[in-house]
Amino acid sequence: MASNKVDAKVVLLGKSYAGKTCLVERYLKDRFLGETVPYQNTIGAAYGAKTVNIDGHSIVIGIWDTAGSERYEAMSRIYYRGAKAAILCFDLTDKSSFDRIRFWIGELHQHEENCKIYLCATKCDLVEENPERRAVQDSVAKALAKDCMANIYETSSKTGKNIDELFEKIAEDYVKEKVAADELEQEAIRIAEIGRKAHCPCS
């Protein structure tokens, strides 16, 4: 799904209740309603966008917050197709949500080679408050991140910790890649032009 208004498409994937919607809500609206509003599972997927400035580049990131229920998994391709970045979320207090991450990594490797993966360990405020609630060990999560050459962030939508950092990193990586690609293209054009000039008898 592409729109000419969006530069970088970002998709959030992960088990239901992992905290995807809260993460996006914190990033786009800078708020956390988890304390007052009961959990509402996402239906299908919700879309939001934000413009950010990175090194003088203004880019629009389009964010797809997908539903974690299993029945949507078969249809998830409509949502992640063409994504530049995927944030794979798991809940630090729920081991099964971490176990699901490998599925998404496999899925993306198979269908979206060019999609960069970012791991996101959510709800870190809960484990900071009570370390006993931690169900996913730091070392295990880091090992997985290393395995798939992904950056990993521990975030809290409640406190806002690391959330801007995560999206900033995504935007930076995108800009870096784009600048590199643009340079490559310029280079290609330059070479082509030189070639043309060399062959043109009139110059």
């Binding site: 799904m1 592409a2 729109s3 208004k5 969006v6 239901s16 919607t21 809500e25 509402q40 599972n41 996402t42 239906i43 299908g44 997927a45 919700a46 879309y47 939001g48 917050d65 539903a67 229920s69 299993e70 029945r71 949507y72 998994e73 078969a74 249809m75 391709r77 409509i78 949502y79 197709r81």
Partner: protein
């Protein structure tokens, strides 16, 4: 409700001093219907269902649309006169849909989190907590969904996994009767009615001690079944159970429980589901026309099948692709989706939904957004193109801008604030409340609930009277056209003709003659107001 007084049968040719019912043109009638008009309630029989189950599911509406639009493109670009729309040649468009349909199939995930098949002792103990809990037992209406092998899928009250034994008993009853090459339909035990519906790989059971008749319960179970299809599609459901008879369907329904809960609550309070008809938000027809045109002008897109605006369970407008109609049962599922999903209020959403009456074999994609800040005016754009989100999002912005420019959004909000209308406005002293359904357009109208029906308990009693009246007048074998019933607290009059169904509630002291006069007057009032209360023109893309 105690059946006080005698239910009385009237002929249309009753003595003129008794008053006469004038069967004129039905108000709200239109040749140009927007909804599929069919008498679902009357046509719903176990025999019919069994026959339907024999037939392969009607398939391919979605394919046809995509094929048609790809043909449209062809005809524009090269051979304008030579396109045979019914040709069975496979166009590129259809092929691509076939491929995507494949991808969309929900397949059971093979991992080891299966719920065990055997019930261990600890589970039974937990279960006793629910089934023996007095509060649970006292519920007025229960609805259960279980798999053909007896696995719990859903229970309206209590946790389904604490009801393993009771579901097992239900499954045993059904299969016992099936073994005798027969079919279990209903059981009456004391105050309770048990109604069974077996479809595909599911068993649905409704238990009521309310006014609902067996037939009405069956209709409700049909809605619940359609809700399952709406979430999973018929093809996926069949595929899953063909692969694994013992599959725990709850896994695919997580997060969908609220659709069932909400649907069942709607069925106990919204007469539209019983009548298989929808209620329209009252609006001047000129305003409604502006709204419809705003959609037509800005959303005339290749694969867009239906575009509709819903406000508080009422329809504001519906624009459809030529040749395709929306069935009221499907529309109720859409209304239920909107009604049950708080999450649509936060952001533009893009979600698959299957409309069982339209095409049970596949999903359409719905672009869902609210047009006002209060999140009351919901726009749905239903497309068969799964990649059209941004096109639809743009269309939505334009529609919204035009509605604002022509003050139409304001008119909708004013209508919401004004509430529908009061019974008093009809100018009939003894009339307390009524339901009127125009059959040709599958729409109904009814006034606000006012005294004495302001308390939930009273509203429930009123709804019970409508169930009773509806049941009596539709009882197969002895179909009545008119029913006059004197109850303890009110007098009821039901009247069904080719064109309409009318259910009216009067004070207890009204005479038959005055009731008939009143009803004639009411029909004239509805006729005068019909442009505002009903959508009489169908708008297509």
């Amino acid at each position: 409700m105690a059946a006080h007084g005698e239910a009385d049968q009237l002929g249309t040719t009753s003595d003129s001093d008794q008053g006469e019912l004038n069967e004129t043109d039905a108000p709200g009638k239109s040749e140009d219907a927007i909804l599929f008009a069919s008498d679902d309630f009357d046509n719903l029989t176990y025999e019919g269902l069994a026959e339907e189950a024999q037939k392969p599911v009607q398939k391919g509406t979605i394919h046809a649309i995509v094929r048609q639009s790809s043909n449209d493109v062809d005809s524009r670009s090269n051979t304008p006169n030579n396109i045979d729309h019914d040709s069975s040649e496979v166009s590129a468009g259809e092929e691509s849909v076939e491929e995507t349909a494949e991808q969309a199939q929900i397949t059971p995930r093979a991992d080891n989190t299966e719920v065990p098949d055997t019930v261990d002792a600890s589970r039974i103990e937990i279960e006793e907590e629910d089934a023996y809990n007095p509060e649970w037992k006292n519920q007025k209406k229960h609805v259960f969904i279980l798999s053909a092998s007896g696995k719990p899928i859903y229970s309206r009250h209590g946790k389904e996994d604490k009801l393993v034994t009771i579901m097992g008993v239900m499954q045993a009853l059904v299969s016992f009767v099936q073994d005798a090459k027969d079919q279990l339909r209903s059981i009456v035990a004391g105050q309770h009615k048990f109604v069974f519906l077996v479809r595909d790989h599911l068993i649905l059971v409704g238990v009521t001690r309310g006014m609902d008749s067996t037939q009405q319960m069956l209709l409700q179970l049909m809605y619940v079944y359609n809700q399952v299809i709406s979430v999973l599609t018929h093809s996926s459901l069949n595929k899953i159970f063909k692969q694994r008879r013992n599959y725990d369907l709850r896994r695919l329904l997580t997060g969908a429980e609220k659709f069932f809960d909400n649907l069942l609550n709607l069925m106990d309070t919204e007469p539209g589901l019983l009548l298989t008809a929808v209620r329209c938000l009252p609006l001047d027809s000129s305003v409604r026309e502006i709204i419809a045109q705003s959609i037509v002008q800005n959303a005339k897109l290749k694969d867009l099948v239906f575009a509709l605006i819903i406000v508080k369970n009422q329809l504001v407008t519906l624009v459809r692709m030529k040749k395709y109609y929306l069935h009221p049962m499907d529309l109720h599922l859409i209304i239920n989706l909107v009604n049950a999903s708080e999450s649509f209020k936060d952001a533009e959403s893009w979600t698959p939904i299957c409309l069982p009456k339209f095409d049970a074999s596949g999903f359409v994609q719905a672009h869902v957004s609210y047009l006002d800040n209060d999140c009351e005016v919901c726009l749905l754009l239903l497309s068969v193109d799964r990649d059209s989100f941004f096109i639809l999002s743009e269309a939505k912005d334009k529609i919204k801008a035009r509605l604002i420019r022509y003050n139409a959004l304001q008119a909708i909000n004013a209508s919401i604030k004004r509430t529908s209308y009061s019974t008093q406005q009809c100018g009939i002293p003894d009339l307390r409340h009524f339901l009127y359904k125009a059959r040709s357009t599958a729409q109904y109208t009814s006034p606000e609930l006012e005294a004495p029906y302001t308390e939930p308990a009273e509203q429930e009693r009123l709804f019970g009277m409508y169930l009773y009246l509806h049941h009596r007048i539709h009882t197969s074998g002895r179909p009545l056209k008119i029913l006059f019933h004197v109850g303890e607290y009110e007098t009821l009059l039901g009247w069904v003709t080719q064109g309409f169904e009318l259910y009216a509630v009067f004070g207890p002291l009204i005479t038959k003659t005055s009731a008939i006069h009143a009803v004639n007057k009411l029909l004239r009032w509805i006729k005068r107001e019909e442009d505002r209360l009903f959508i009489l023109n169908s708008v297509t893309f």
